[in-house]
């Protein structure tokens, strides 16, 4: 065991944990008598510093790894694998966490400020670990780290009955899903006698592992991870969690934890789907989940009047789209899944943040009607929101369009020549396209309230803080930029995957 090496590989996480303890300590002692908003600002500033230092650590590691002078890769039997790709995604998680902290600080649900930010930091930690984990034990522990923090965060509005209820719902369903996951993992271990992804892949490819056990393990993993990415029919927790938890938390669940889970899906299933003898069966199962998610998500979103709930259903639908890239089971598929996970997270984080800002100023849950005429008082906010929503709807030149297009290309590319409609994924893409048309209906419905209605606005002119404004603007710029010129990111992912 090389402890100095372990210290260096986990440096960013250590910084973040340390920062969290500092924040907790100050909040419990020095800031004790201050009013909650000041405390929230101070603790948020400390958390921001911790995350920034952590990010600097990630960047340092990234430079070291790409430089090749010092290698961190595949340390500790796959427990922390630092490659350019994992580090890039870990950095992204940290950046998203920075955004979430900025959005969260204006409206902390109750007086437990430092616990709130502490849980956000700890979940960031879990997501970072999950991305670098290529080892079953580390995988499970980090998933639990993420889940437990998110359960807590969802239930954070202790004065609101529904928040606690949503937290308990999330907790129960999440617990069951963890059980499925653990069961699948144990079968995977039993079949391959390996803990690291590398060893598992080798065992499966070489045929040493019994196929039926691998298949059962994969089926349970699909179920367990299906809960985590809110894919139908494992999506029942999502609408309540997104609607009733604090909005920044919903944004965090929809963005950070999604990226981490999809990264894991690609890492875990990518090789299995490409090589396993039994891939047909497994793909059929994932296709089923994908279609169900797209249909139930989009149809469910149609009749929502609460915007957060609508976005929750839309996130279910998006999980369905992303799975299309997974079933492609080729390199393009993996790249497109990762790319879409990134841009989806950016857009959905932006959309939730906007809703959160509006909710907090409105003092209650915003319904679609509440946005009527927002363009009059808050033109900037309306334009940003339009960018996020249109990206989710997949309208060019925003990144959501290219992301979807790439997923479809990958799926069809896996079997472009077909003799009948049941082969290949033309039909799956057709379903997805049809469902995109359905989704346009409700996205446009939301935008209509924002930009079309000439009613007197219910919302007063909103003063957004500098941090919020900068965050939203940056997210919007990223969403537009990745749509106009996705090549950089796509090629980076392609190069680092291969």
């Amino acid at each position: 065991m090389n402890y100095p090496q372990l210290f260096l590989t986990t440096l960013p996480e250590l910084i973040v944990v340390l920062g969290m303890f500092v924040a907790l300590g100050f909040d419990y002692t020095k800031y004790k008598e201050l009013d909650p908003q000041t405390r929230s600002n101070k603790v948020a500033a400390l958390s921001t510093i911790a995350l920034m230092l952590g990010l600097a650590g990630v960047v340092w590691q990234f430079l070291q790894v790409t430089d090749g002078s010092k290698t961190f890769s595949n340390s500790f039997n796959g427990q922390v694998v630092l490659t350019p790709l994992t580090l890039w995604f870990k950095g992204l998680i940290f950046v998203l966490a920075l955004f979430v902290v900025q959005f969260a600080k204006t409206d902390v649900p109750n007086k437990h400020v430092s616990e709130y930010f502490g849980l956000i930091l700890l979940s960031t930690l879990g997501m970072g670990f999950l991305i670098t984990a290529q080892n079953l034990i580390m995988l499970f522990v980090s998933i639990e780290l993420i889940s437990l923090s998110l359960y807590g965060l969802t239930a954070f509005q202790t004065d609101k009955k529904f928040s606690v209820e949503a937290g308990i719902k999330y907790f129960t369903i999440g617990g069951v899903s963890s059980a499925f996951l653990l069961f699948g993992l144990s079968y995977l271990f039993g079949a391959t006698n390996e803990l690291s992804f590398e060893g598992i892949t080798a065992a499966i490819t070489s045929g040493a592992a019994p196929q039926n056990y691998v298949l059962i393990a994969s089926a349970f993993l699909v179920v367990g991870l299906g809960f985590k990415i809110a894919a139908a029919p494992f999506h029942l927790w999502a609408p309540d969690t997104y609607q009733c938890g604090p909005v920044p938390v919903a944004a965090w669940v929809a963005s950070g934890s999604k990226i981490a889970s999809f990264f894991l899906l690609v890492q875990l299933f990518g090789p299995v789907l490409e090589t396993s003898e039994q891939k047909e069966t497994l793909i059929a199962g994932i296709v089923l989940v994908s279609v169900l998610s797209m249909v139930l998500g989009n149809i469910g979103a149609l009749r929502q009047s609460c915007v957060k709930r609508l976005l929750a259903y839309s996130s279910i639908a998006h999980a369905g789209y992303i799975l299309i890239g997974l079933v492609a089971a080729n390199e393009d598929g993996s790249i497109s899944v990762l790319f879409y996970a990134v841009i989806y997270s950016l857009a959905t984080l932006g959309a939730f943040a906007t809703i959160g800002i509006i909710d907090s100023r409105l003092g209650r849950e915003a319904q679609i009607d509440d946005f009527n005429g927002t363009w009059k008082q808050n033109p900037g906010l309306s334009i940003l929101f339009m960018i996020f929503i249109l990206s989710l709807a997949g309208i060019p030149p925003l990144s959501g369009f290219f992301g979807k297009f790439y997923l479809f290309m990958a799926a069809i590319g896996s079997q472009p020549e077909i003799a009948s409609w049941s082969e290949g994924f033309y039909w799956l893409v057709a379903v997805a396209l049809l469902m995109s048309a359905v989704s346009l209906f409700y996205y446009v419905k939301v935008l209509k309230a924002f930009l079309v209605s000439a009613d007197t606005p219910k919302l007063p002119s909103i003063q957004i803080t500098k941090a919020e404004g900068a965050g939203l603007l940056l997210l919007a710029v990223l969403v537009v930029y990745l749509g106009i010129y996705p090549t950089g990111l796509v090629e980076f992912i392609a190069a680092s995957l291969g």
């Binding site: 500790f76 007086k111 437990h112 580390m138 780290l145 239930a155 006698n193 019994p210 039926n212 089926a219």
Partner: protein, 173 residues
Amino acid sequence: MVDFLFYLFALITVLGAGAVVLSRNPVNAAMLLIVSFMGTASLFVTLGAYFLAAVQVAVYAGAVIVLFLFIIMLLNVDAAEQFRPDYVTFAGGLIAAALMILGTLKLFERGENFTLLTLQELDPVGVSTQSFGMELFTTYMLPFQVAGILLLIAMLGVVFISKRDKETRKDAA
């Protein structure tokens, strides 16, 4: 023989867990949980994982259940309301469970069966408590530490969920 013991202990575990869910009295439920835990511990014994079995009994069946009982008594939880299953949900659950079991069985037919190895067969040296500890603090240092952070999360959760603010208390009164 091992097969027979496995099914016996597995049955105890599952039935115990089921009884926990169905029992209305929280104290009874906690006691039944011990039964389930004991079943698990016995399963560990049949696998040769004696240390885990001991931990299972000491920590779960012992400490955790005692904590549960403490809380139940402190909060003075009454018997839960009569368990009234929503029949549609109930049927849905049953169907899902049946499908899952059938699907799993079907998948087993896909390939040759193979026997799982016990710990001793797998790694004759590595099952001692000492080597277990060594592994935990060297190879699996990182997951072990992360599990520590998990406990921290639980602590934070307890703070904000249970700690009442002065004002809210005033409001309540």
